[in-house]
């Protein structure tokens, strides 16, 4: 195998591993928008506080199991999500132009959260320890066990989410709301409660990906913004509201990211993401798997 081809395959593998970390973050955003038409600008900040909460627990309680820390953090994030929906989104939803009002209000909230993180934790970056360490070699290529685990957990969560949406009553109600929220209301689906639940689930998904991202890269007070933009670009490529689309788009964009940083340098990664976004909007604005 020539050296160039070999590096290319390595880039693709690295890209899939990197994309795997982005999947859940994009799924949370896509689910929220697909069901409720809420676009949550504080998503990146919620992702960051998910990571920071885990970091506190791990560094405060010595020798605590990683899994237990996560189990403590996720319900907290669930209730934070419920609270935000109740206090900020709910009062706005009665307006005619509520979508953009929610965008502005959650942007304001994101600024508050960013500054709070900065005050409480300081400007220095924090890193979460990886869940599992080590590498394995398959056919001469090195795979990181940690990133494979992340991909595995992601797939499991996606399956659970899929079962939840197709088999449970709440999940089916969510799909009904996403197809026709007025019709769902007419047949007696408690739409306000569903909005809260969806918001909370999306916040939990943000927190999980915050933990993944915090242990892969780092946590910084304003670090959530770039991940928020990436999540949005993945959702735009995959098609808004399509969870499978988000999965595939995350992997594609992960590979693009790997390729760009290999060929042109890491500095061009963000411009490349933006360029991809513009190309999607020109060629196929509804995304790869979008229905609307």
């Amino acid at each position: 195998m020539s050296g160039w081809l070999r590096s290319l395959i390595e880039v693709v593998i690295g890209g899939i591993e990197a994309g795997g970390i982005y999947i859940l973050m994009a799924v949370g955003l896509s689910l929220l928008y697909g069901v409720t038409k809420i676009f949550n600008y504080s998503y990146g900040s919620l992702l960051t506080i998910g990571g920071y909460f885990t970091w506190i627990i791990i560094s405060m309680v010595a020798g605590i199991n990683y899994g237990i820390a996560i189990i403590i953090v996720l319900p907290i994030m669930f209730f934070i999500g419920l609270g935000i929906e109740r206090v900020i989104v709910f009062p706005l939803r009665r307006r005619t132009n509520w979508e953009i009002n929610v965008v502005i209000a959650t942007l304001g909230l994101a600024l508050v959260i960013n500054s709070l993180i900065l005050i409480v934790f300081g400007p220095l970056i924090k890193t979460l320890p990886p869940i599992i360490e080590g590498n394995i070699k398959v056919g001469g290529f090195v795979f990181s066990i940690y990133r494979l685990t992340v991909l595995g957990i992601t797939i499991i969560i996606m399956i659970i989410l899929r079962l939840f949406l197709t088999k449970t009553k709440i999940g089916m109600a969510m799909r009904a709301v996403s197809q026709d929220s007025l019709g769902a209301q007419i047949v007696g689906i408690p739409i306000n409660r569903l909005f809260s639940y969806t918001f909370a689930i999306s916040t939990v998904l943000a927190a999980i990906s915050g933990i993944f991202l915090g242990s892969t890269y780092f946590l910084a007070p304003e670090g959530g913004w770039l991940f928020f933009v990436r999540a949005f670009i993945i959702v735009a490529l995959g098609g808004i509201g399509s969870l499978g689309g988000a999965f595939i788009a995350a992997l594609i964009l992960g590979i693009v990211e790997g390729f760009v940083s290999w060929q042109f340098g890491a500095i061009w990664v963000m411009p490349a993401w933006f360029l991809v976004l513009m190309i999607i909007l020109i060629i196929r604005p509804k995304g790869l798997f979008g229905v609307r």
């Binding site: 979508e99 965008v103 942007l107 909230l109 508050v112 960013n114 500054s115 963000m270 411009p271």
Partner: protein, 327 residues
């Protein structure tokens, strides 16, 4: 139908404000206050152009600061690398911002409103990356761009030492920009937008081409923001990627939201209030952003019309009082 009416009272009021602004430098000894007033002029122009698209045209753009920064860099590079005079550079920066605005607007103005919000915000957040990556064209990479040549007229150089001449340039420039915005709001353009904002389907059915109007006005707004960016670059002499950090966009959002979206002079009035408050709250450091972020959330929930609503409440209240007295 005119959206902003000119009666005798308003005209006298405007003339008074004009005389006040023209005479102000002769009363103020502090160069810092003059600097803040110049910044007020710059931001009131940027904010009016933002309100034009956000409040009137219903284009939910978060790219105003990005266009401002593009204009600033365009102008600085034009005068430093391409040998333009700062005045031409300013126009050049504005043109670049306008062209980029149109290029971004072309695909996403066809789509639903939220796409614009997200794409322009993505532009805002990825602009620092473009600035780092653009070291070859003279953006200075991760360093800030310094020694940007100041404005000149003949032999006279507008320096930071004596800011009063710059004050008048800024006053005239922002007056022109605000006048353009005002003319657009009051033109058939403005009425088409109001129609589109209030009932898009109806407006389309009477033959208003939403897309064309939106592209034109989005480009104009980006141009005006870029123009002011160019002015800022040559006035301050130093620009960096910190312009597209969060501090500036928070301040401008507070100004627009509290001034009231689509309430024309509201945003200009709140510029003069908040630029000063923001400056005097500087010692609060990070707590200032909590205050501003919280204020954005509160105002959008409780008072979506901005400060102009307070005036309305007061008017209603005093009318009620007068009514009670009469009976």
């Amino acid at each position: 139908m005119r959206l902003v009416t000119f009666n005798k009272k308003n005209i006298i009021f405007l003339i008074c404000i004009g005389i006040l602004l023209l005479a102000l430098p002769s009363f103020i000894r502090s160069g810092f206050i003059i600097h803040l007033l110049i910044m007020c002029f710059i931001w009131s122009a940027v904010v009016s152009a933002w309100d034009l698209i956000f409040g009137y045209a219903g284009i939910f753009s978060f790219g105003q600061v990005a266009f401002f920064t593009i204009g600033a860099y365009g102008s600085a590079i034009g005068s430093m690398k391409l040998g333009m005079s700062p005045w031409i550079g300013m126009l050049f920066g504005g043109l670049i911002a306008g062209i980029i605005g149109i290029l971004i607007g072309l695909p996403c103005l066809k789509l639903k409103g939220l796409y614009v919000a997200l794409v322009t915000f993505a532009l805002h957040l990825s602009l620092p990356a473009f600035i780092y990556a653009g070291a070859d064209i003279g953006t200075g990479g991760s360093h800030s761009l310094t020694n940007i040549p100041p404005f000149k007229v003949g032999e006279y150089v507008f320096t930071q030492m004596n800011r009063i001449p710059t004050y008048y340039v800024a006053l005239v420039l922002s007056f022109i920009v605000i006048l353009i915005v005002f003319r657009i709001i009051n033109s058939s353009f403005g009425m088409a937008f109001t129609a589109l904002r209030d009932s898009e389907d109806f407006a389309k059915s009477v033959g208003i081409n939403a897309y064309k109007y939106k592209i034109i006005v989005f480009g104009i707004s980006a141009f005006l923001a870029g123009l002011m960016g160019g002015f800022y670059a040559h006035y301050v002499g130093l620009i960096s990627h910190h312009l597209v950090g969060l501090d500036l966009i928070i301040l401008l959002m507070v100004i627009v939201i509290i001034g009231g979206l689509g309430k024309f002079p509201g945003a200009i009035i709140s510029t003069f209030i908040f630029v000063f408050i923001n400056e005097y709250l500087r010692p609060l450091e990070q707590y200032r952003n909590i205050l501003w972020g919280g204020l954005i959330v509160l105002v959008i929930i409780l008072m979506p019309g901005g400060i102009t609503e307070i005036f309305k409440y007061i008017k209603d209240f005093s009318n009620k009082m007068a009514f009670k007295k009469r009976n």
